[in-house]
Structures are given as structure tokens and as C-alpha cells.
């Protein structure tokens, strides 16, 4: 479902299909359910992987590092598997909105620990990544009974719809725009001071390149953002690495992978935060090794030029 874009740097919902293609999948879900949409997906993904160089290029950034030994047909097969699984996640997201959250079983690991962290009343930073289906992770957090704020940017003309838009319900979380005043840092600081939850993507730059530090990821230096670690340092909020993964056709597992405590770090130097960012990268790399086809960051994370605005896919 990938579509050629005029801007080589852009990546938006328009990159994963045109409006009518999205609507065709939504209609299929309404008429035939998730399985019918999956069936259509197998053919659509095969077509794109075979005939869209852009689709292969986008997937190739990650696949070249995750499967460095593969080439030719093997790489094509990895590409097919990766985009297919990503397509399933997009379908699942639409299914939640169209047919209801009860269409999926969501298991949460670390429930008690999350409750304890929340009880500290220092706010909580949920560090997620482009893996699994983060919307389901958010729905699994309702038991915390705390407002959830997400650092995310939606582009003008986005055609991809979130589950709550399908369901016709209000957005269940507050959105903080990373291109807003001072990159949204004051808003983020404010919600943490109020003991709320702040969710950020740890594998994607959404602001200035200055707020990144290179860490080793899949064998090469990749600049990852460190603003969240700075916020954790300033507020004392725990930083919780939190991933979701698809475990079956209609099931997901939400996992608290690690809790980081960032001590107070003074000054403007980025190097003090690098060890914490590296810890996140290690956990994310481990995830990608265990679940190679559930890593959906299609940007070139290693190039350092991924700072163009985009939404959390």
C-alpha cells in the first residue's frame, strides 16, 4: 500500500495508499470483517513489493541492517513479510474502530508495576516505538485512569484514519504538536508536573536534529531523540519503555520492557543522555531480533535526516 511521493523525504499516510485504496479496505472490513481484509492484503502487498521500487526502498533501510546477509529473493521475501505485517496492523487498527475493541484480545505485562509508577505522582513517560500497534497499547492503559498525552504530528491531507475516527468517538488522548512553541516541551513538562502520562516515540526525530544523539542500533550509529530523557531528568518522572506486538490473528501483547530512571543532569551537553538513549536502543534492537517483521519505522533512521514532520504511523 505504498505510494510514490514527489518529496523524497516525506512519509505520511498518503505514502501507504491513496484515499480510494483505504476506503476499499474499510468497506471490506465492514462487509467481510478482518479476515476478508487480510485476504485482500496478501495480493495488494505482493503487487507493491514486486512493482514498487519505493516500497522496497522504504523497507530496505531496516531490512538491510536486520538481515545483512540476505540478498535478492531473500530480501524480497523479508520485504513482503514486513509490509504484510504492517498492513495487518493498519487493518487491525481500523477493525478496532469499525467493529469495536472487543474484536481483539489484549494482554498487558507489567500492570502492577505501572500502577506503582503512577502512584509516585511524578508523571510517567511512555517511550514507545514504531512497533506493533501503539493504539492498542493506549487502550490497554485505561486502568491507570490518568490523562494520556501524545507527542505526534498529523500532516495536512492525512487520509489514514485512527480507530477513534472510525468509531466516531472523541480522541482519547491529548495531542502535543512537536512543531509547536518550543517543540511542545513546555506542554510536555506541564502534563508531567500534573502527574499525567506522556507518550513519545523513541525511534523517530520529530523536531530539531540538535535534540538527537547517535547510538548504536543494529550495528550502525543512528541518531535518536533525547528530549524525553531530558524531561525525565528535569521532572523525576520514570521513563517506561513500552512495546506492543501482534501475537495472533486477533491478539496483541503489551509489554513493559524496561523502566529507566534518569538522574538530574545539568547543562546543555547531549553526551550525558547518550547512555540512556543507548539503553532504549538495546531494548528496541532486542525486540527487532525477536520479532523482525513487527518493526515499522520505514525512515532511514541511520541517515540523520529523518526530522521532517510526520505522524506516528
Amino acid at each position: 500500500m505504498l505510494k510514490q511521493s514527489n518529496d523524497k523525504n516525506s512519509w505520511s499516510s498518503r505514502s501507504i495508499g491513496s484515499g480510494w485504496q483505504h476506503r476499499a479496505f474499510y468497506l471490506t472490513i465492514k462487509l467481510g470483517g478482518r479476515k476478508a481484509a487480510y485476504l485482500m492484503l496478501y495480493f495488494v502487498v505482493a503487487w507493491y513489493v514486486l512493482f514498487s521500487p519505493l516500497a522496497r526502498a522504504r523497507a530496505g533501510h531496516y531490512l538491510a541492517r536486520r538481515f545483512p546477509e540476505s540478498s535478492g529473493l531473500q530480501r524480497l521475501w523479508h520485504c513482503y513479510r514486513l509490509i504484510l505485517e504492517f498492513g495487518k496492523v493498519l487493518i487491525d487498527r481500523a477493525v478496532v474502530g469499525i467493529l469495536g475493541a472487543e474484536s481483539f484480545q489484549v494482554c498487558l505485562d507489567g500492570r502492577e508495576e505501572l500502577l506503582e509508577l503512577c502512584a509516585e505522582n511524578r508523571g510517567m513517560i511512555l517511550m514507545t516505538a514504531h512497533v506493533g500497534c501503539w493504539q492498542l497499547a493506549m487502550s490497554a492503559l485505561e486502568f491507570l485512569q490518568r490523562p494520556v498525552n501524545m507527542l505526534m504530528r498529523r500532516e495536512d491531507g492525512d487520509i489514514d484514519r485512527h480507530y477513534y475516527e472510525h468509531a466516531g468517538i472523541p480522541c482519547p488522548y491529548q495531542v502535543i504538536d512537536p512543531t509547536g512553541y518550543l517543540g511542545g516541551t513546555l506542554e510536555m513538562l506541564g502534563v508531567l508536573k500534573q502527574g499525567q502520562i506522556l507518550s513519545v516515540m523513541g525511534d523517530r526525530l520529530l523536531g530539531s536534529d540538535k535534540s538527537s544523539t547517535p547510538v548504536d542500533f543494529l550495528g550502525e550509529p543512528a541518531p535518536l531523540p533525547f528530549s524525553a530523557y531530558k524531561l525525565a531528568s528535569a521532572t523525576g518522572a520514570p521513563l517506561v519503555i513500552f512495546f506492543t506486538r501482534k501475537t495472533g490473528p486477533d491478539s496483541y501483547r503489551v509489554q513493559l520492557a524496561k523502566v529507566l530512571r534518569v538522574p538530574q543532569i545539568k547543562g546543555r551537553s547531549t553526551e550525558h543522555f547518550a547512555p540512556y538513549v543507548q539503553e532504549f536502543a538495546v531494548v528496541l534492537e532486542e525486540f527487532s531480533r525477536q520479532h523482525p517483521y513487527q518493526f515499522y519505522n520505514f525512515h532511514n533512521m541511520w541517515s540523520g535526516s529523518q526530522s521532517e514532520p510526520a505522524e506516528q504511523e
Partner: protein, 84 residues
């Protein structure tokens, strides 16, 4: 020492601003972007510094945005909070 002077001094110390003296920071100079050249992450540090040295909490963006424009606006905000 008045609030503005103290602000300039703690900014330099806490943000490790190199090659800048308090005298070089203008009262009406923008703190962010052109001017003193602070960035969004410095804003986080600045909020912490204000609380630590002046006992004044900047709770959210409603308060922070007008206060964090210049040394003068920040000093006025601190003064108002301390008196309030």
C-alpha cells in the same frame, strides 16, 4: 542583587553558557532563537532553574509562554509570583 541580574547569572551557570557574561545579556533580548540562542530543551532546564533558585513554579504553557520571552518578562513573572 535584583532578579534580572540573578537570572542572568544562574542562566549562565546552570545552562553552561560558554563565553557569555551577565553584562552581555540584554534585558529585552529574546531568550530563544535569535538572541540568547536557547533551544527547546533549554526551556525545560530554565523552568527547573527558576523553581530551584527563585522558588517559583511554571506550571504549564499558559504561564510559560509569556514569561519565557526575555529576561524582563521572566523577572516580572517571578516577582509577581513571589509577591502573590
Amino acid at each position: 542583587m535584583d532578579i534580572k541580574q540573578k537570572l542572568k547569572q544562574v542562566l549562565i551557570e546552570e545552562l553552561n553558557l560558554e563565553d557569555v557574561t551577565p553584562e552581555e545579556i540584554g534585558d529585552e533580548e529574546p531568550l530563544f532563537g535569535e538572541g540568547l540562542g536557547l533551544d527547546s530543551l533549554d526551556a525545560v532546564e530554565l523552568v527547573v532553574v527558576v523553581q530551584k533558585h527563585f522558588g517559583v513554579e511554571i506550571k504549564d504553557m499558559e504561564e510559560g509562554r509569556p514569561a519565557l520571552q526575555t529576561i524582563s518578562t521572566l523577572a516580572a513573572f517571578i516577582e509577581a509570583k513571589q509577591q502573590g
